[in-house]
């Protein structure tokens, strides 16, 4: 499913890389540990986290993730946004907590990969 479609269906607010939302989302991964995402995230995954500092952009771009969703109304730090713009990495925010968001993503067909 395209990122644009998910944004619309889950009512996510886009905070960065608004011109780059055309990407296909192939899976998802939820974790707040950066090394965990580096080890187990997959290319094209949507990453669900509550970490808001700029290192999340580095991790996402190394793994070539489709984007990051910040949960619980958490807003990215200004440096995070700046970096995300340069890396053309979409960061979205939602008021949902991780559990609820993952459940909705799953029911839309975005599943984790083993």
């Amino acid at each position: 499913m395209k990122l644009t479609e998910l944004i619309q269906k889950l009512d996510l607010s886009v905070r960065s890389a608004k011109a780059h939302l055309d990407r296909e989302v192939t899976g998802g991964y939820a974790s707040d540990l950066l090394s965990d995402v580096l080890a187990n995230g997959k290319q094209g995954d949507l990453w669900i986290t509550l970490q808001i500092h700029q290192n999340i952009v580095g991790v996402a771009s190394i793994k070539d993730l489709a984007g990051i969703i910040l949960v619980n109304n958490r807003e990215p730090e200004p440096e995070t946004l700046e970096k995300a713009e340069t890396e053309k990495l979409p960061i979205m925010v939602t008021k949902m907590p991780t559990f609820e968001l993952v459940g909705k993503l799953y029911s839309l067909g975005i599943v984790g990969t083993k």
Partner: protein, 314 residues
């Protein structure tokens, strides 16, 4: 690029891009029973210049700001929008190329068209001239990035072809500042971008980037700084990450998954989970860790190009 072929690219794009790709999908519709006097508030609040008028599932017309202004100028009494809307509803199909839309805008002089599905004739969206311009600009921007990447790739390719030697080795070095979380990971990111431009297998590039990122994070978290040195050879990539202390007392222990000496605040940032060295091990074809307390630590990572097909995740 000359202005001439820029125009031809746009001409090409209006045939390539479909109406459905640029239309607005969140359509605000208006009931035929809405009063003209209410229209102003709706248009202003939703920041739109017009909307389809829907009677249940059926589109019965389109009402626009032009209709509203005309109604105001004529100083007529309040009435439902069904009396002032244009009933001659011209539609576009979502799978039509943009050129059809451009022609219709010229032919009818309307500000917007409703977009419907070819088969079901259900309303899918609405399109304005602004949407067309925005869609074209976005596509041109994407083209532009692709072109830039292509220029890079060609440049690097030529560079290798121009060098006459029995063996070509490339060396990269990145300085890493200790405790600087703002810049942490920059070395690995820059390395990744450079290796990508060299045209290396994406999977190999990703493995190198992950291993380097983890080693770099260790320098940032635990030391006062260090260096990343990368040697690129045709059969493999060798990463050496060195720092000048404090060193690791028990090397065997830090290799255990989950073992970490990271302080609480570092863990709160999502680092120091005791997975870093394990991640390096998983990505590397060979990894070696040497450390002397008080002197510093050296991590050697070798990633063979032939291991490229192997996934970095298990």
């Amino acid at each position: 690029m000359t202005p001439d072929n820029k125009i031809s690219r746009i001409q090409e794009l209006v045939y390539e891009i479909r109406v459905g790709e640029v239309m607005q999908k969140d359509v605000i519709t208006i009931s035929p029973r809405t009063n003209m006097s209410e229209l102003r508030g709706i248009l202003r609040e939703k920041r739109i210049s017009g909307a389809p008028v829907m009677d249940g599932d059926e589109m019965v017309g389109i009402i626009s700001i032009e209709d509203f202004i005309k109604w105001l100028a004529d100083r007529e009494h309040d009435c439902p929008v069904s009396e002032k809307m244009s009933k001659d509803v011209q539609t576009l199909y979502a799978d039509e190329p943009l050129t059809q839309a451009v022609n219709k805008f010229e032919r009818f002089g309307f500000g917007r068209f409703a977009v419907i599905d070819h088969q079901s004739r259900q309303l899918l969206g609405i399109i304005t001239k602004g949407d067309i311009v925005e869609g074209l600009l976005k596509k041109l921007e994407v083209d532009h990035y692709k072109e830039e990447e292509e220029v890079y790739r060609r440049r690097v390719k030529h560079f290798f072809e121009d060098i006459l030697a029995d063996k070509v080795i490339l060396l990269f070095q990145y300085d890493v500042a200790g405790h600087d979380f703002k810049r942490a990971g920059e070395g690995a990111s820059r390395l990744k971008a450079s290796l990508k431009r060299l045209g290396l297998d994406p999977q190999v590039v990703r493995r190198v980037a992950i291993a380097t990122y983890e080693a770099e994070m260790n320098i940032v978290i635990y030391t006062n700084g260090g260096k990343i040195r990368v040697r690129v050879e045709p059969h493999g990539i060798f990463v050496r990450v060195v720092d000048s202390g404090p060193g690791i007392p028990d090397v065997q222990k830090v290799l255990q998954p989950g073992y970490s000496t990271a302080p609480e605040w570092v863990r709160n940032l999502g680092f120091g989970a005791g997975m870093g060295l394990n991640n390096i091990l998983k990505c590397a074809s060979k990894m070696d860790l040497k450390s002397v307390v008080g002197k510093g630590t050296q991590v050697y990572i070798r990633i063979d190009t032939k291991d490229g097909a192997m996934s970095e995740t298990n």
